[in-house]
């Protein structure tokens, strides 16, 4: 695992404005939107991490992003499916981090 990872200043401000604006909008938007902004933000973070080229193992995050991008919009049409996707996504991440911890 990389000791330090740097993203570009442009991407930093992109993520910063996304997070601050989402925090602001979440006060009045439907409850589920806050959850959506977080998973969408996670996808954006992955995109910037991949762009930086500093990840030791890109395969998992690349696949995870594809998986999340394909399912996150179900928030608008299939709430139970969306809720299940979030649980499954968290499980996938836990499995990967456990695998990484075991390898170290």
């Amino acid at each position: 695992m990389a000791e330090r990872m740097v993203i570009s200043e442009e991407n930093f401000y992109e993520l910063l404005s996304f997070m601050v604006t989402s925090a602001h909008l979440s006060i009045e938007e439907p409850e589920l939107y806050g959850s959506f902004r977080l998973i969408d933000g996670a996808c954006r973070l992955i995109e910037f991490a991949l762009e930086s080229g500093q990840l030791r193992d890109e395969d998992f995050v690349r696949e995870f992003k594809e998986y999340a991008d394909a399912r996150k919009h179900s928030m608008m049409t299939d709430e139970p499916g969306y809720v299940w996707f979030l649980e499954e996504a968290t499980g996938k991440l836990a499995e990967e981090l456990k695998r990484q911890a075991t390898e170290q």
Binding site: F18, T21, L25, R37
Partner: protein, 172 residues
């Protein structure tokens, strides 16, 4: 294109090609907005059309509900008037929504995709576009040539939403 065909087949488009929109197309869309109905014929709506790449990029940073860079934004604003012509926010929103629907249907008829965004930081858009204090940005429309063909979302049936003569009485 028939009006009902445009209404029936329009979808919210969130992925766009890089192709810019011709000025003439934007003129037509603004004309469509200009002819929308509005309360008291006050026509307090104002439209800011943004095609500058740097301004679009800046706006997108403060609109987390926008996932792709559109060819243009139309910010539907309202100029608030005080005194006897003052209207409440719901009236202004209704006027702006009717203008926005005209824009979206006309755009669809011209092969242009659109989506209305409400998830944006009003204060940021106000600062970026130098919108004065007495003007309120109400809706943000993204526009561009579609790079996707979304499936029809589930819609409630008429008996679920329409009633005959009194609320709750079945529509036949």
């Amino acid at each position: 294109m028939e009006v009902f065909e445009a209404i029936r087949n329009r979808r919210s488009i969130r992925r766009f090609t890089d192709q810019p929109l011709p000025k003439e197309a934007l003129d037509t869309l603004l004309e469509a907005a200009r002819w929308a109905p509005c309360g008291g014929n006050l026509q307090r709506w104002r439209f800011v059309v943004v095609t500058s790449p740097s301004t679009k990029k800046l706006m997108k940073k403060f609109a987390p509900g926008i996932f792709d860079m559109p060819a243009a934004f139309i910010v539907v604003c309202v100029q608030i008037v005080q005194g006897k012509h003052h209207r409440d926010e719901a009236t202004y929103m209704a006027d702006c929504s009717m203008a926005a629907e005209n824009i979206m249907l006309q755009a669809h008829a011209m092969g242009i995709g659109t989506c209305v965004a409400l998830s944006y930081a009003k204060i940021a858009i106000r600062k970026i576009l130098n919108i004065p204090e007495d003007v309120d940005p109400m809706l943000l429309i993204t526009l561009g040539y579609p790079a996707e063909a979304p499936e029809t979302p589930p819609k409630l049936t008429l008996p679920e939403i329409a009633f005959s003569d009194e609320y709750g009485k079945e529509w036949k």
